[in-house]
Structures are given as C-alpha cells and as structure tokens.
C-alpha cells in the first residue's frame, strides 16, 4: 500500500489525531456491519431448522448446522407447481448467460475497433445512436420484442433470451471497447496497415491480444448483468425455461403450506453464488466496469 497515491488531509499528530482516527474507524466499521448483516442473516437462516427460526432470533447463529434447507432449495423446492428445486433453472441461466456474454463481447470488440481505428464517415453518429440503446427503459421494447420472438418461433425459449441479451448488451460492450480503444495508440495499427495487414488480420493478431483488460471488464460486467436479469426472464420465458432469478422469485412467493424461510435463503444464496464468486475473485475488474460505465448508468 505504501507506494500508493495518497490524498486526504494532512493532520497534526497528537491526542486529537488519535481520537479522530478512532471515530473514523468506528464509523467505517459500523458501515461494514450494515453491508454485511443481510449476507450473514441469509447464511445463518439457511442453516437453521424451521423450529429454530421460529424460536430463535434474526441474528442468532444456528445452534447446529442443518443443510437440509440447501438440499431442498437445490432439488426439491417448489417453483410454482413444479417441485424440482433450483437446479434446472441454474442450468437455464448458465445456458443463457454463457453464449450471450460471449457473443455480445466479441461483437462489441469488433464494433468498438471498427468505430475507433477505422474511422469512416458517420462513425461518431452511428456510435451515438447505438449508445442510446444502453439507456432506454426496457419497458419500451417489451411488447414488440415479445411479438418478434413469437414470429421467430423463439417465444419462451432460452435461445430467445440469448438473442434479447445480446442485442441489448451490444450498446454496453461497444461502449466499453470504444473507450478502451480510444486510449490505444493508433501508431502501431497504422504501421500494420502500411505493411499490408487487413482489417481482420490487425484485429485478431494485434488488437485482440492487447485488449485483454477490456475483455475481462466487459465479460464480468455482462456476466453480472445477464445473470442477474429478471425483467427479460419474467417477460419472455415460461415455467421450464425460466432463468434462476425468476425461479427464485417463484420459490419465495409460492404460498403453499408453511413459509420455509431457510429454504428461501438457501435458494437466494444459490442464485447469488455465481456473481458473488466472480466479484470476490475479480472485484477490482468489476469496479473498473462500474466506473468505466460512469458514462453509461
């Protein structure tokens, strides 16, 4: 940490200073607890039995670890009328997310590259028009999209969702790559052009290898967005093809019999685990996506 850029206030040392530091860490600590409590409550509730939930308190730790709620959430909780647990819906989300992330990232890279390094007439206008797509409230495209998916025979299917996520992810991925490529010197690309390298040759051999940071940021961003999406999932799929977010909401709101909070919480953690894992492993990249997207929202 020592070589890091430092800012903040130059302080006098002494009692006053130590007191201020104590207050500073107390406040920071309180907020750590604030952000962590829901996660801890989620985990501890998922490990309790229903009896313990009824008799214990919200923040008490489980007396003994009971994994039955996890098992039930995974393979026998009721999603609406079907009681197969979340497992098949997790699979749906994987099948939807992986292709949608891959396709939208590749197309975004190509698009950003063509728009910045092969500037042709109207490139800026095209970019501005495409960028707008990242900001529209998706309510405005739900109705026509449902009709088009129906006409393509993709209504209620996972390929349909892949199409939707790819199309509306493109504005973001193009934005990320354009911002990255603008910072890349055009010198080497010009040199490659003089040497006779073509559009795709330069892209695959020169540009793609050096855009690894942009690829990582884009993949993480798209993965988080698409995995966590609920609106498209609930509007364009039914039952069997639901992504896990929709299934989770159905588990929680299935109102037959006793409310099983431990199963709800286990299901919520299961649905959150992939994006949480990515965040823990690659948090810095995720944050870069957030701030790179400060233009975007």
């Amino acid at each position: 940490m020592s070589g890091r850029h430092t800012s903040g206030i130059v302080q006098r040392r002494g009692l006053h200073h130590s007191l201020m530091r104590a207050v500073l860490f107390a406040v920071l600590g309180v907020f750590c607890i604030y952000y962590l409590i829901p996660l801890l409550v989620m985990i501890s509730t998922s490990l309790k039995s229903l009896t313990e939930i009824r008799e214990g308190s919200l923040i008490s730790l489980p007396k003994e670890f009971d994994f039955s709620a996890w098992e039930k959430a995974w393979n026998s909780a009721c999603v609406g009328v079907r009681c197969n647990g979340l497992a098949p819906y997790m699979w749906n989300s994987v099948m939807m997310t992986v292709p949608a992330v891959a396709i939208s990232t590749i197309l975004g890279a190509l698009n950003g590259y063509a728009l910045t390094k092969w500037r042709f007439r109207g490139a800026d206008t095209i970019f501005a028009l495409m960028l707008f797509g990242a900001f529209i409230p998706f309510q405005v495209i739900l109705l026509p999209m449902a009709r088009v998916l129906g006409q393509l025979g993709l209504a209620g299917t996972i390929p349909g969702l892949i199409l939707v996520h790819t199309v509306y992810g493109l504005a973001f991925t193009t934005l990320f790559f354009r911002n990255f490529f603008i910072g890349v010197s055009s010198g080497i690309i010009q040199a490659a052009k003089v040497d006779g390298a073509g559009f795709f040759g330069i892209f695959f051999r020169l540009v793609l290898p050096m855009s690894l940071p942009a690829i990582v940021v884009t993949v993480i961003w798209q993965f988080t967005q698409i995995w966590n999406d609920f609106l498209f999932g609930v509007a364009f799929t039914i039952g069997d093809s639901n992504p896990v977010t929709v299934a989770l909401n159905n588990v929680v709101n299935t109102s037959t019999g006793v409310k099983e909070y431990n199963v709800d919480m286990a299901a919520a953690i299961i649905a959150a685990l992939p994006t949480l894992a990515v965040y823990v492993v690659a948090g810095a990249w995720f944050v870069r996506g957030l701030s790179a997207g400060a233009v975007k929202g």
């Binding site: 940490m1 850029h5 800012s7 903040g8 130059v10 201020m20 500073l24 860490f25 406040v27 920071l28 952000y35 996660l39 939930i53 919200l58 923040i59 190509l110 698009n111 063509a114 490139a123 095209i126 501005a128 028009l129 495409m130 960028l131 707008f132 900001f135 409230p137 309510q139 405005v140 495209i141 739900l142 109705l143 199309v167 493109l170 504005a171 193009t174 073509g198 559009f199 795709f200 988080t224 999406d229 609920f230 609930v234 509007a235 989770l248 929680v252 709101n253 919480m265 299901a267 919520a268 649905a271 959150a272 994006t275 949480l276 965040y279 948090g283 995720f286 957030l290 233009v295 929202g297």
Partner: protein, 293 residues
C-alpha cells in the same frame, strides 16, 4: 480483381458495423416507434393499428393506479438518490483518509452491487417481515412495544423499497465519489491545510465543489436506476399491498402482461422513455462532447 479486393477491404469496417447498426436500428428505434405508435391506437388485448389520437394517454392519466406509481417514483427516487449520495459521500471521504485496509472495506461496501435485485429483495423481505424479523429482534432486545409493519402497511411499504435499494446501491455512489476524490490534486489539500482550514471546511468549501461533475453523473446514474426499478419491487413487495408500491415499471408490466391492455401499457412505457430522454440525452451530449474533444 485486385482493385475489387482493395475496395472491399476499404469498406470492410463499414460492412462489419452495418449489420450491428441495423440490428440496433430495428431492435431499439424500430421497437420504440412501434410502442409509441401502439400508444396512439385503440389497442386492447391485441394490437390494433387504427390511429386513435391520445385516448390511451387520457385513460392512463385517469387511472388512479398510475398516480400511485408516479407518486411512488418521486418518493422513492428522492429518498433513494439523496440517502445513497449522502452515504456515498461520507464513506468516500472517510476512506480517503489514508485507511490502510481500504481495499477490504471497499470490497465489503460494494459487494451488494454484484447481487441480483431479486436476491436483495428476498433477504430484506425476510429481515423486515413483521412476524419473525426485525420486530421480533427488537422485542427480544426488550423493546416490547416496538412495531414495524412497513412491509405490509400500504402507507409505508414504499420506504422498505428505499431501505433495500439504498443498501444495494450506496456502495456504488461511494465508489464514484472515491474515484472523484482521488482525482483531486494533493497540492490543493496541502494548501488548505497550510491555510489552517479544518477537515470540515476543506471538504465542504474546497473539495466537494470541485467534484460537481461527479455529483451530476452520480445523480443521473441513480435516477436512471430509480426509473427502471422493477425487480426489487417485485421481489420485496410484489407491488403491494394492493398496488401501494407500484412504480411505472411494474405498472407497465402489469398492464402489458397480466391485464393485456396494450394501449395503456404502451402509453406508460412511452412516458417512461420520455422521462429518461429528458434526463439522459443532455447528459450524454455533454459527455460525448467532452470525450471526443
């Protein structure tokens, strides 16, 4: 042949971009035009392409439920944006005081952003439920008369959405402000310290005014989140009790997919789009002008 090849090569960038651009024209602009047109027709369960003027907008604005949605949007956005900004600024300033474990703390503050709003809604629904949640906890702590039924109280339920949304997004505001603070020149801070300006004066008088662009972009990002909020409402309250926590996004969804009133749904979607355009287009315009120099 060689000439043809060169000509093709020169056009290749445009040829690559055009199908993507065409897709965007169709799926974004074409769809917007379709929705906007449907909002001007007599469409009910099925689309009806006969022009009917503004009758759907008249119906929309005569629907009490739409007023609830609009009122909720204002209450929610106002509180959500101001509380998230306040927490964000506070935490960013505190974290900027050479805190050694800053990386760990920042990770903790930001992880909710990686969660789905459905997960957030699920866990807050459990914590705020009147039977076994916070209320019980307070009773056990000795506050026998403590009562917290906001989740099922139609007057207060919207505030539970604010609570959960602030929890999820205030870390984001912190990250944006922290990035802004890091861009402030150290010399400015040293000069302030030499002049004897205290911590409070330095930040309120010197640093924060320099961050005006960060304020603007954070407000816009949060406002944009607020207008689109749909998942969290569905997961936390389902729009209820009744339709007490409806927002424009849930209103539109309900009229489009549950009540099959396409005309009203399209009119409400168009209203949402116009609101977003009014906020985002001037901002984008200034941002793009800035980056392209």
């Amino acid at each position: 042949m060689a000439r043809f090849g060169r000509a093709l090569e020169r056009r290749l960038p445009a040829i690559v971009v055009s199908p993507l651009f065409a897709a965007s024209l169709f799926f974004v602009y074409g769809f917007i035009v379709w929705t906007a047109y449907i909002s001007l027709t007599r469409s009910g369960v099925m689309p009806n392409y006969e022009f009917d003027g503004l009758s759907q907008y008249v119906r929309l604005w005569e629907t009490p439920r739409w007023y609830v949605a609009i009122r909720n949007l204002f209450v929610f956005s106002g509180l959500f944006i101001s509380i998230s900004m306040a927490i964000g600024i506070l935490l960013a300033i505190l974290l900027d005081q050479k805190v050694r474990i800053e990386g760990v703390i920042r990770t903790i503050y930001l992880y909710p952003m990686a969660l789905s709003f459905i997960v957030t809604g699920t866990v807050w629904k459990w914590m705020l439920n009147p039977g076994l949640g916070l209320e019980r906890l307070m009773h056990q702590a000795g506050f026998e008369n403590f009562s917290f039924d906001w989740l099922v109280n139609s007057h207060y339920a919207i505030y539970t959405v604010v609570i959960a949304a602030v929890w999820q997004s205030s870390g984001y505001a912190m990250a944006l402000f922290l990035a802004g603070l890091r861009s402030v020149d150290d010399e400015v801070l040293k000069a302030a310290a030499i002049d004897g300006a205290g911590l409070w004066r330095t930040y309120t008088g010197i640093v924060l005014p320099m961050l005006r662009p960060v304020f603007l972009s954070t407000i816009i990002i949060l406002a944009h989140l607020a207008i689109k909020s749909f998942d969290l409402v569905i997961a936390l309250t389902g729009g209820g009790p009744g339709y007490a926590t409806d927002m424009p996004a849930t209103f539109m969804y309900s009229f489009a997919f549950q009540r099959s009133e396409l005309g009203v749904a399209a009119a409400s979607a168009t209203m949402m789009l116009m609101t977003v355009i009014a906020i985002i287009v001037p901002y984008l315009y200034s941002e793009l002008r800035k980056t392209s120099g």
